[in-house]
Amino acid sequence: MSAQALPTTVLLVEDDPSDALLITRALTGAAPGLRVEVVSDGQEAIDYLAGRGRFTDPRSRPFPSLLLLDLALPRIDGIQVLRWIREQPSLRSLVVVILTGAASAEQMRAAYDLHVNSFLKKTPLLSVPEVCRNVLGYWVRLNHSPPPRSDYLDASPRDL
């Protein structure tokens, strides 16, 4: 299996600390050595990807080969973050998986129309560690992510 194509860094956008912990453990359980970066709101997610705010140092923002995105976020919600990502030439092909609590049919439609790669709901079963590891394992053990673009580090993204 081509190691470079499997994810090495995951950006987790999640405001609930216990969910963030569960998800992080599931990811590193499925892929030991995987780096998981956590931000807790939509603006931070954008700052990370754009290299702004507290993420001006390139070392603080390794290229995410997978983005796990909650929808109900403070400041800027998940759909807006997704829309922003798909509008940035250097970021538009990022693998984005929504991982959220309750979501309306309209939010799901909007997400798919914005080419979200996948949409997962936080069911009670998904909070079982082995199950979470198994499900998220699809993205970190099996799926091949796109390579980082050369303009990721010096991206001048359009403002939200």
Binding site: M1, S2, Q4, A5, R92, S93, V95, A103, A105, M108, R109, Y112, D113, H115, N117, S118, F119, L120, K121, L126, N134, V135, G137, Y138, L142, N143, H144, S145, P146, P147, R149
Partner: protein
């Protein structure tokens, strides 16, 4: 729901054989529809909108090879993504290529996922179990059948 078909776009007979055997081994009961090239794939999908008895059900998943005669996988992907409401169908590029450019292009054209073909039935079956479990049991499915039915009703 177990009867939503899997649409396989694959021109290589060997690979089709491996896929069929692997699906059996993985105990996946969804009907498999095989399109032998890009054009057949698109024609099958176009048939989704016709109001006829026995209209094939919308595939829940399109497993798409890249290199095919007539029309390649990337062209099919591009076409699918421009056809509302079919544009939301789950597309898993299923290729023997690991070239970063191919992976990049697949995602540029909005594939949902990119899996690399395995050479044995056993490895393929294991991959299909994970793939089936993920896309059929966990991923929240875009509601294509309802959207297509609405479209058909509007056309009458």
């Amino acid at each position: 729901m177990p009867y939503d078909p899997i649409l396989l776009a694959e021109d290589d007979e060997n690979d089709v054989f491996i896929m069929k055997r692997a699906l059996e081994k993985a105990r996946i009961v969804n009907p498999l529809v095989v399109a032998r090239d890009g054009l057949e794939t698109i024609n099958y999908l176009k048939g989704m909108g016709t109001v006829t008895a026995g209209t094939p059900r919308v595939p829940l998943l399109l497993l798409l090879d890249i290199k095919m005669p007539m029309m390649g996988g990337f062209e099919v992907l591009q076409w699918v993504r421009q056809q509302p409401p079919l544009n939301r169908v789950i597309v898993v590029v299923f290729s023997s290529s690991r070239h970063p450019e191919d992976v990049a292009r697949a995602y540029d054209l909005h594939a949902n996922s990119f899996l690399v073909k395995r050479s044995s039935v056993e490895e393929t079956a294991e991959m299909l179990r994970s793939m089936h479990n993920y896309w059929f049991c966990w991923n929240e499915k875009p509601n294509l059948q309802a959207a297509l039915t609405r479209l058909q009703d509007e056309r009458r």
